[in-house]
């Protein structure tokens, strides 16, 4: 059982490193960073407590929001999905990404207290 899991994972990693374009790998690295940041914040909250709760929430929501926006960007600039996003060029996707981030940061900084 575990054997097949390991083989699936190794196959996945191999395919990933060979067939994904560089641009997407950059975005994936960014996604990993956001994920880790969010995880560490959550860990702190679990260990030490929720005071001050609003700061924790704002930090965590910031991570979650950024993750989602980055995923959207990744979907939109993936050349394999070009058929579904005919009206949205990669530059347009990036501009949307930046605008959405501005709004997210405004809210996060307001709530962080």
């Amino acid at each position: 059982m575990s054997n097949s899991v390991i083989s699936v994972i190794s196959r996945f990693l191999e395919e990933y490193t060979t067939s994904t374009p560089n641009k997407l790998k950059v975005v994936d690295a960014y996604l990993l960073y956001i994920l880790l940041t969010g995880a560490f914040q959550f860990l702190y909250c679990l260990l030490v407590g929720t005071f001050p709760f609003n700061s924790f929430l704002s930090g965590f929501i910031s991570c979650v929001g950024s993750f989602i926006l980055a995923v959207c960007l990744r979907i939109q600039i993936n050349p394999q999905n070009k058929g579904e996003f005919l009206t949205v060029s990669p530059e347009r996707a990036f501009a949307d990404f930046l605008f959405a981030h501005t709004v997210l940061h405004l809210v996060v900084v307001n709530f962080i207290g």
Partner: protein
């Protein structure tokens, strides 16, 4: 239901009675104010004429004559009216005629000047040009629209000949009455004050009597005016006292309205020793109306709502109307009387509601005291005690026994059972001064019973055994003889007696212990080391990101230095910086303002830059396509 409401309102409105009136002592005070010594003619006028309105005659002819100034209309007016009230005083100087007449014709004469001139001529018995005066008054009313001026016009018109056209002046009464302020449905007065209201009353009735037309005032309005005028019982100035006296005289004796004042002699209470209900029926000047008929329309019991009397007349004796209410054998309690006064068609406020109390004496019958054993094994021993004696031997009750008492309270004269408001049993410990009070309750047959369970009640006694004096207290508003009767002594024995502590009176008024305010403690924070560790941990993935990007070979070399892209990056950095400043200093509105500025710049630059990138990419893809062909 609506009809009932309307009916109640109508009855209520009909039953408006004077709430303020001049009592004989008030009248004496009024006379005193008016009879103060005077130094000038105006004060003399107010004093002399005021007292004449109250029915007193004053000798002051010489003073008037010596202070008279024949060239002044005002002086003539004061002298003329004042001397008119003094029987023997006579002003026979015909050369007075010129001045007042001249004043009448002068167009700039004020209302008060016209009034004084006309009154002077009238009181001196000299002829008047009435019609000219009427037109002068009308002209003046339109110019001087205030209440006092119109009141003076009314007063002036009352001196004019009846052949003159006084109709329009008469209508002014109604207009003025509309300007009165209704205060709570009880008072009706002008906002200018009491004096003006009182002068209006006397002027309105003077003119109405002169012309023979009833003034357009409803009964309730008359009562309300009366309340206003007589609400003040001490008067600041001579003119105020004069105005009140004039109004009182006008209300006491005019052809149309006669307010009646009804008051009980002493408290409205009857009993066997005092069976007569006595009422005084007077006019406003406290003169008894001996020709009136006083009738009790209904007398109902407040408790049972049964009608005791109906259409029963009062008999008159020496100016006081009396009725023997005890003859109808009423039970003790309160009764609501509805009294009507008739005999004169002018009477106003002649339906009175009166609350009469019938009181009686109570006697205590069949007072039985006994000590009952709880398990009823030993027979009870009952002692009968007669009021006001005390039982010869004292009773002993310990925790196995109850002490019981039963008695009856009856009306002394009729023998009817009574249930007074206060029937208490009081036990008083002579040694410690402690007293405990219980309530004795009647059962369904109006027999009062009281039982003291020694074991159950030991808390109230603080378990202090000893000799207690037993008292019965009976009291009620309708009882003439409240009772405090020491019936017996009881020796109470409580189990588990603690050392008797001295009874401390509960002092409620000492300062209580001070409350220290607990300020809200700040939340416990984790140690700084821990926080710093986690901060570092949270920021560490950024380093990982940089590392990964470097490893992936992020395209840093493709960084074009075109102005739009530089501007874009600067703008973007500025926005992130603004976020930091927002966190530390600004509020949302300021941030939005700055964000709008920086954002629009960044947007334009970014748009440019991305467009350039898009063009480059498109061109590159075209090249690739061409190369592949």
């Amino acid at each position: 239901f609506l009809l009932l409401v309307v009916l109640v309102l109508a009855l209520g409105a009909h039953a408006l009675t004077p709430s303020h009136h001049l009592t004989p002592s008030d009248l004496v005070r009024l006379q005193d104010v008016l009879s103060q010594p005077y130094t000038d003619l105006k004060a003399a006028y107010l004093s002399i004429v005021g007292q004449s309105k109250l029915g007193l005659s004053v000798e002051a002819c010489d003073f008037i004559k010596s202070n008279l100034d024949p060239s002044s209309v005002e002086s003539l007016f004061y002298a003329a009216e004042a001397s008119q009230t003094i029987a023997s005083c006579c002003m026979m100087n015909t050369n007075f005629k010129q001045t007042p007449n001249k004043k009448n014709k002068h167009e700039d004469s004020t209302m008060s000047q016209i009034h004084q001139a006309v009154s002077a001529l009238s009181f001196l018995g000299l002829p008047l040009a009435s019609q000219e005066v009427v037109s002068a008054l009308k002209a003046r009313i339109s110019k001087e629209d205030n209440v006092l001026a119109i009141t003076l016009a009314l007063q002036t018109a009352s001196h004019l000949s009846q052949q003159a056209e006084l109709g329009e002046i008469l209508e002014e009464i109604e207009d003025l009455a509309a300007r009165l302020d209704d205060l709570g449905g009880v008072y009706l007065q002008f906002e200018e004050g009491l004096e003006v209201t009182a002068l209006f009353v006397s002027a309105a009735y003077a003119l109405s009597d002169h012309v023979g037309v009833e003034p357009p005032l409803k009964e309730d309005q008359v009562i309300q005016l009366l309340n206003s005028v007589f609400s003040k019982k001490s008067w600041d100035s001579l003119s105020e006292a004069f105005s009140v006296a004039s109004a009182a005289a006008a209300l006491a004796d005019n052809r149309f309205h006669k307010p009646v004042i009804v008051s009980a002699v002493g408290p409205a209470t009857v009993s066997h020793s005092q069976p007569l209900l006595q009422l005084q029926v007077m006019d406003v000047l406290c003169q008894s109306l001996s020709s009136a008929n006083v009738l009790v329309e209904t007398a109902t019991s407040a408790a049972t709502k049964a009608t005791i009397l109906s259409q029963t007349p009062f008999t008159q004796r020496d100016g006081i109307f009396q009725l023997n209410f005890m003859a109808s054998q009423p039970a003790s309690g309160y009764y609501q009387f509805s009294v009507a006064i008739s005999g004169d068609s002018r009477l106003v406020g002649n339906h009175i509601e009166l609350k009469v109390k019938v009181s009686t004496k109570v006697s205590i019958n069949n007072m039985d005291l006994s000590v009952v054993d709880k398990d009823q094994s030993i027979g009870t021993k009952t002692t009968r005690v007669e009021y006001p004696n005390k039982a010869k031997s004292s009773f002993i009750a310990d925790s196995h026994q109850n002490f019981a008492m039963s008695f009856q309270l009856v009306d002394e004269s009729t023998g009817v059972e009574l249930t007074p408001h206060q029937t208490f049993v009081r036990l008083h410990n002579q040694k410690t001064g402690q007293e405990v009070v219980f309530v004795a309750e009647p059962d369904s047959k109006n027999l009062y019973k009281f039982e003291l369970d020694t074991a159950e009640r030991k808390a109230e006694f603080d378990s202090i055994s000893g000799t207690y004096a037993l008292y019965l207290m009976v009291g009620d508003a309708t009882l003439e003889n409240p009772v405090l009767w020491n019936m017996a002594d009881i020796v109470l024995k409580f189990p588990d007696e603690e050392a008797p502590s001295a009874i401390q009176s509960k002092n409620l008024y000492v300062p209580k212990p001070e409350i220290q305010h607990l300020f809200r403690e700040p939340e416990r924070r984790p140690p700084t080391v821990l926080s710093n560790t986690f901060t570092a941990m949270v920021l560490s993935p950024f380093l990982l990101l940089l590392l990964l990007w470097f490893k992936l070979g992020a395209n840093v070399s493709n960084f074009s230095l075109s102005p739009s892209s530089v501007l874009f990056h600067v703008g973007h950095a500025a926005m992130l910086g603004l976020m930091y400043v927002y966190w530390t200093q600004l509020n949302m509105f300021q941030t939005l303002k700055y964000l709008a500025i920086i954002g629009s710049l960044t947007f334009l630059a970014g748009n440019r830059m991305l467009a350039q990138k898009a063009v480059k990419r498109y061109c590159a893809s075209l090249y690739v396509q061409l190369a592949l062909q």
